[in-house]
Amino acid sequence: MSDAVRAESTDRNLVTRWWGRANTIDPRYLIAFLITLVLVAAQLRYHMLGSYDRLVVALGVCVATEALLSWFDRGKVINLLSAYISGISLTLLVKPQGGALWPFAVGGFLAISSKYVLRYRDNHLWNPTNFAVAALLLLAPDRVSVLSHQFGNDLTTNLVIWIFGLIIAARVGVLHITLTYVASFLLLNSVRALALGQPVLPEIAPITGPMYQLFVFFMITDPRTIVRGKRRQIVVAVVIAVMEALIRFASDKGWPLPTAFNVAPAFLALALVGPVAKWLDLHRRANFP
């Protein structure tokens, strides 16, 4: 065997070993790694946090709430990784008026406590961050907005996050959900644009934005709130995309929706469709095990 062939073989073995080792890691650690990567890149390159006290408040409230409520509900403090992911996500997504910190505190508490309150058959129904962001946008639109363009509108950053996101989504086994949603988004919004006689590019442009990166890699693919079964997961992803397209159509027509629907149609679509799908899934599994 030549040196070149041997080196290539060694390289391939390394990748295989790395991928094999990655398969043994709890998927939540991979997700936590990805969201941390997004946070660090966003802060180092774009100073997008605004201030570190937001991060401290959101993380602190999420972790403390999880620790307290899990102890109260289950008699033990559970793994706090999920709270960590929620805290980082909220820090990235919530954009308050002025220097207000309360949206991070209230949002953090809502995110985690929703898991303990809004339950069916011992499962929570909403992705915690999705619930908190949707609730804040609906209840406090005069004080809270959502991440819109804070990643520099930069192709390189987009690519880095998409590449890591796709690899980790594949490892976690939810890549089909991400790809289904993205394909549905592109198709449905192209159709919507053509139907309305609008240029297509602005209608599909939002998918390249940071809000959607967080959406497709952290919310819609949340292992705890997706339905069981690959086919059903694909169907739900399509339904969420359809709901979003309908919301956007209503916004196009100027229908008097709450501002939250115009600002974050994907989040609202998931907040509406996700829990219903999960409830139906849990109900079906209970009745037809």
């Binding site: 109260f72 002025g98 949206p103 209230v106 809502l110 303990y116 819109s148 509108n153 602005p202 916004s251």
Partner: protein, 588 residues
């Protein structure tokens, strides 16, 4: 083991704070109850006396190449400006408004001294400046660049710069070519400053669109910013050194101040106390920039804490926000409830201690809608600055809102929205239109309180430039607002009469005659306040040369220190109050 044992009961218990948190979010959405501090007694009223003063100026927005018709309302949303200068030397401040459509005239309002104005732009030679091939006016700044005792004026345009020399206090001569300033710059701002302290006013011009772009004959529609936060593909700002003899030299690269961010406004003062004027930039689609003057040999771009928040800087106003004897910066930004909270910045100047500015804008002052021009001024003469903020972007069809369309494009990749052709069509939609101005009074620990409605600033025009001037020399700071595509407004200030005041007219000798860049620190009792004579500030505006200080109940002034641009420090003890005081710079 926690209690109780039944899960349903445990969750019911958790549901209580959960529901409470939802209610808290709803309550906090309403914001704090009004009348923090003492909003009920602002101590002044503003009366719209535009018509009574004989000011009938209406701004007209430009029209551009049909290739960008889809977003023309957005691209053409600038150009209303107002600047103050006593062009005829009669001791009374006059007003100059720019227009922005081919064939529409700029207006020069001569202050008659009886509360009324007469429009004299045509006879002065400053009216007909909006012409095909030349460009359309975006603003003007006044300064005596040749130190002959008469205020000259630079008009910046989307097009060629135009410098006019004041010939005799009534007529102006176009000296652009002779001065070496005939440059095509798509500019929204300019300031006079004497960066090398040679006694001659130099000129800093900000550029918005690239200078190779002719908005009426576009070779490409790729003219827009390539990022909503960190765009650097704007026009290159320019610094012109005044050589004397009516000549200017482009020293931009030599001095290192050629920012290509989308600068909308500049202001100059000695922020770090080294005696040399620095340059502060408010940039659209990017962070603010501070260029520190290296003793006239060049500038260094310093971070000073400004790099951490990239927003859409629209204007920069300088003032002593908390009577600390330092010039702080207020930079306006965009906020639209539900969509975007970029929040205004009130940056406290802490350059002396930490080489940084610290943003302390919170609450009402952080969100003034889509805010444009702003100025600090003591409208109630209580010894603390108020802030007047004009705002509103495009007021068109009230039932059509472009924000939803904007939210789609803003999250996209930069390459996409750099091309104007890919933007959703504006049509007749509004974008943050019909917003009332904000008038903030400073209530110390209680924060800044908006009293606009209370004091009478109630118009819903699309405000752009704000200038302050004591138009009748009566110890009151009047507010003049230039509105985009709409009539200008003059708000006369009527402060409570129980407060005292003093105002200074400075005449430079070793420094430039206009005394632009001179800083005055007034001290009396526990009151200490600094002001600067601006060569342009806010957005597309320039204030009264004369510096007005409210004194509250103080019946005397201990002392006044004047920091002249030449480096001379002058102390004046116990000047008489409730009047204008003229101070001439010592020859040596």
């Amino acid at each position: 083991m926690p209690y109780p044992r039944r899960p349903a009961v445990r969750r019911a218990i958790i549901a209580v704070p959960f529901l409470a948190a939802l209610l808290v979010a709803m309550r906090l959405n309403r914001g704090p109850d009004q009348a923090l501090g003492d909003a009920a007694h602002p101590g002044f009223v503003l009366r719209d006396e535009t018509s009574a003063a004989g000011i009938h100026f209406v701004h007209h927005r430009p029209t551009f190449d049909p290739k960008i018709a889809n977003i023309e309302p957005h691209v053409a949303a600038l150009g209303a400006s107002v600047s103050v200068a006593d062009f005829d030397g009669d001791g009374r401040p006059d007003l100059y408004f720019t227009n922005s459509r081919f064939g529409e005239a700029n207006a020069l309002y001569h202050n008659r001294g009886d509360g009324t104005f007469e429009e004299v732009a045509a006879s002065a030679g400053l009216a007909d400046l909006n012409k095909p091939g030349e460009g359309v006016a975006m603003g003007a700044v006044w300064g005596d660049f040749d130190n002959d005792g008469r205020e000259d004026v630079l008009v910046y345009r989307y097009g060629y710069l135009a410098l006019f020399r004041n010939v005799d206090g009534h007529h102006f001569e176009d000296v652009t070519e002779k001065a070496g300033l005939r440059r095509w710059v798509n500019s929204n701002g300019a300031i006079w400053l004497d960066y090398d302290r040679d006694g001659l006013l130099d000129l800093y011009v900000t550029a918005y669109f690239r200078s190779d772009i002719d908005l009426w004959h576009l070779a490409t529609t790729k003219i827009m910013h390539n990022s909503f936060e960190f765009a650097t593909n704007g026009g290159k700002n320019l610094l012109f050194h005044n050589l004397g003899g009516g000549k200017f030299e482009d020293v931009t690269d030599k001095m290192g101040v050629g920012s290509t961010r989308w600068s909308l406004a500049a202001a100059s003062a000695d922020f770090n106390g080294d005696g040399w004027p620095d340059i502060y930039l408010a940039n659209d689609y990017g962070p603010e920039e501070l260029y520190l003057n290296q003793q006239g040999h060049g500038f260094v771009l310093t971070t000073a804490g400004l790099e951490s928040e990239s927003k859409s800087g629209m204007a920069v106003a300088l003032g002593d926000a908390f009577n600390r004897g330092r010039l702080d910066a207020f930079v306006t930004n965009i906020s639209e409830r539900g969509y975007l909270f970029q929040n205004n910045n009130l940056r406290l100047n802490e350059m002396a201690q930490s080489h940084r500015f610290r943003n302390v804008a919170e609450g009402a002052i952080a969100d003034a809608g889509w805010a444009w021009g702003a100025q600090f001024g003591d409208l109630n003469n209580d010894g603390a600055n108020e802030l007047f903020v004009a705002n509103g972007f495009i007021s068109a069809d009230r039932n059509k809102d472009y924000w939803y369309a904007m939210s789609k494009i803003a999250g996209a990749n930069g390459r996409l929205f750099e091309d104007a052709a890919t933007w959703p069509s504006f049509g007749n939609a509004s974008l943050s239109g019909y917003e009332p101005s904000r008038v903030y009074i400073n209530r110390g620990v209680a924060g800044w309180v908006d009293v606009a409605k209370k004091v009478g600033a109630t118009d819903l025009y699309d405000g752009r430039a704000v200038a302050l001037a004591d138009l009748s020399s009566r110890g009151a700071v009047d507010v003049i607002v230039a509105n985009q595509n709409q009539p200008a407004v003059l708000y006369r200030d009527y402060p409570d009469t129980n407060n005292h005041w003093i105002a200074f007219k400075l005449v430079g000798t070793r420094s430039n005659r206009s005394a632009i860049g001179a800083e005055v620190v007034l001290e009396t009792g526990n009151l200490r306040q600094r002001r600067v004579i601006d060569g342009g500030s806010g957005f597309a505006s320039q204030n009264d040369r004369r510096l007005h200080f409210g004194l509250g109940a103080h019946e005397w002034v201990d002392r006044v220190v004047i920091y002249w641009p030449s480096g001379t420090q002058q102390v004046v003890l116990r000047p008489a109050i409730d009047r204008f005081v003229t101070i001439t710079e010592p020859e040596r």
